[in-house]
């Protein structure tokens, strides 16, 4: 517990140092509010009725509760809002897989700063947060939510092909993606090869170069967004390299634009994630762009144990 507390303290200290004030929201939310934000995957696992028969649910993350909180209570304040949290969230598990129904999350939400500047601010803070918990070798992956759909639309794919291949891409079945594209008669053989190659592109700035010229106008626009994000991030001088990943498609349904995943070689699963969700606030009646990230506290702890580091090792780097 002392080690977990140290992680939380190091992260909250880093967030506060960057001007992100800690907030707390109820563990229980109205199921409607969760579904409003993310009809697809939020599907909360644990639901109950309150005394009036309203359906309540245990929160599945902190992004939606904070979006609701800001829409309810920050409406009259001038944006941007810089908020942080350390809280538990609840998700369904597969039995006997060692998955946690209740797990710790520590993260930030930057609400009201649009585009590359907002994204870069969030990723810079993520970089410092990872250093603050001693994970100097953790890698930040950067994707762009609109790339895949744009490439397929430009190549002439219909909605069904896009849906089916996206579903397979989310589940990481690259063989299946190529098969679906090849079997649809909407795409030329070159387009199929191009798309299959694109989703395997991941690396540094050279990836952007290799992808330029693919697709049409829609894809070029999405790639330009990613390029601007990457340039804004690079300009901030991070302690680690950011891995551009053109095949990243995250499952949670409210992303728009940049997507973020965090990896550490000692843990087989992602240790954090996030991205932009410019349409999320709007669903709560407040039209503000937003971005954020969350780190999974138990997985951070596991990475620390494997690497023999502790929180605070890099804490003095906080500016």
């Amino acid at each position: 517990m002392r080690e977990l507390r140290a992680i939380e303290a190091a992260l909250i200290g880093t967030f506060e140092g960057a001007g992100f004030r800690e907030v707390r929201t109820p563990t229980l939310e109205y199921a409607d509010a969760l579904e409003l934000a993310d009809g697809g995957s939020a599907g909360a696992a644990y639901r109950f009725f309150d005394e009036r028969g309203e359906l309540l649910a245990l929160r599945t993350d902190m992004t939606i509760p904070i979006a609701r909180l800001v829409a309810d209570r920050f409406r009259d304040l001038d944006p941007p809002h810089r908020l942080s949290y350390v809280a538990n969230a609840y998700r369904a598990v597969t039995p006997q897989r060692g998955e946690l129904r209740e797990f710790g999350q520590a993260g930030v939400e930057l609400i009201g700063v649009a585009g590359p500047e907002g994204t870069a601010e969030v990723i810079e803070l993520l970089d410092r947060s990872l250093s603050a918990v001693g994970l100097e070798d953790a890698v930040i992956g950067l994707g762009e939510d609109g790339l895949w759909t744009a490439l397929l639309q430009d190549a002439g794919a219909g909605p069904e092909t896009i849906d089916r291949s996206s579903e397979l891409l989310v589940s990481h079945d690259l063989v299946g993606v190529e098969r679906v594209l090849a079997e649809s008669d909407e795409l030329s053989a070159e387009s199929v090869a191009e798309a299959a190659g694109l989703i395997q592109l991941r690396g540094g700035a050279e990836v952007l170069e290799r992808a330029s010229g693919l697709g049409g106008a829609g894809f070029a626009e999405a790639l330009a967004r990613l390029t601007r994000n990457f340039e804004a991030i690079s300009a901030r001088g991070l302690a680690r390299t950011v891995l551009i990943d053109l095949g990243m498609l995250r499952e949670i349904g409210y992303y728009s634009g940049a997507t973020i995943e965090v990896y550490d070689e000692t843990v087989g699963d992602v240790i954090g994630g996030g991205g932009r969700y410019d349409d999320l606030m709007n669903r709560f009646g407040l039209d503000l762009p937003a971005a954020g990230f969350t780190l999974y506290v138990e997985r951070i702890h596991k990475a620390q144990l494997e690497r023999g580091v502790t929180a605070g090792a890099g804490g003095d780097r906080v500016r």
Binding site: G141, V175, D269, R307
Partner: protein, 225 residues
Amino acid sequence: MFDELRKTGGKLKLAAPRGALLSETLDLLDRVGVETAEVRGDSRSLVFDGGELMLITMRPSDVPTYVSAGAADVGITGKDVLLEQGDRPVYELVDLGIGPCRMVLATQKGDVAPSEHQRRLGMMKIATKYKRIAEEYFAEQGRQVELVEVKGSIELAPLVGLADGIVDLVATGRTLAENNLEVREEILSSTGRLVANRVSYRIRREEVDDLAGRLREAVRTAGES
């Protein structure tokens, strides 16, 4: 060698499937320059130094478990296994074309067609090892079945009246034929796949891409010769 297995950033660890897929897997690995002679011997060891990578051997159905957890960086196993364990997140990178087989619905020779059976009785009793695949297949078609989970020798179930039919993997069809069963419906076809852990796929990307590229090339040239 055992130190190498726990080392962060050591040699890439490949989970290789023991059983029917093993010899074709090793042939493929040979072609891309991995040392496999030791695995082919009669050693009881489960771990082998394959030169550029470590080979860890296990049942094919355990490969997704090891790879999704990051205990192995990459692995080779059948598409049938990946579908049956679809909730274990791994990257599926290359169709290796090895160990081709089909997942089928089979019943005893001479029985009425499953659709006719279903029409008369409303429900079928099906024995299988592949519960998830069978469940999805019948649910998709809106057919009501009772699935009986058995661990092996599935062909036995309809012969002694445990089930009306079976959902099982068939390569040559010989076992079915020798047990008086015949294929009634094809559910899917399967081949061996190269899979990778989500984190290794990013952090060890040069090595993973290099291996995937060489295997893809080996599969392509094998197809031509």
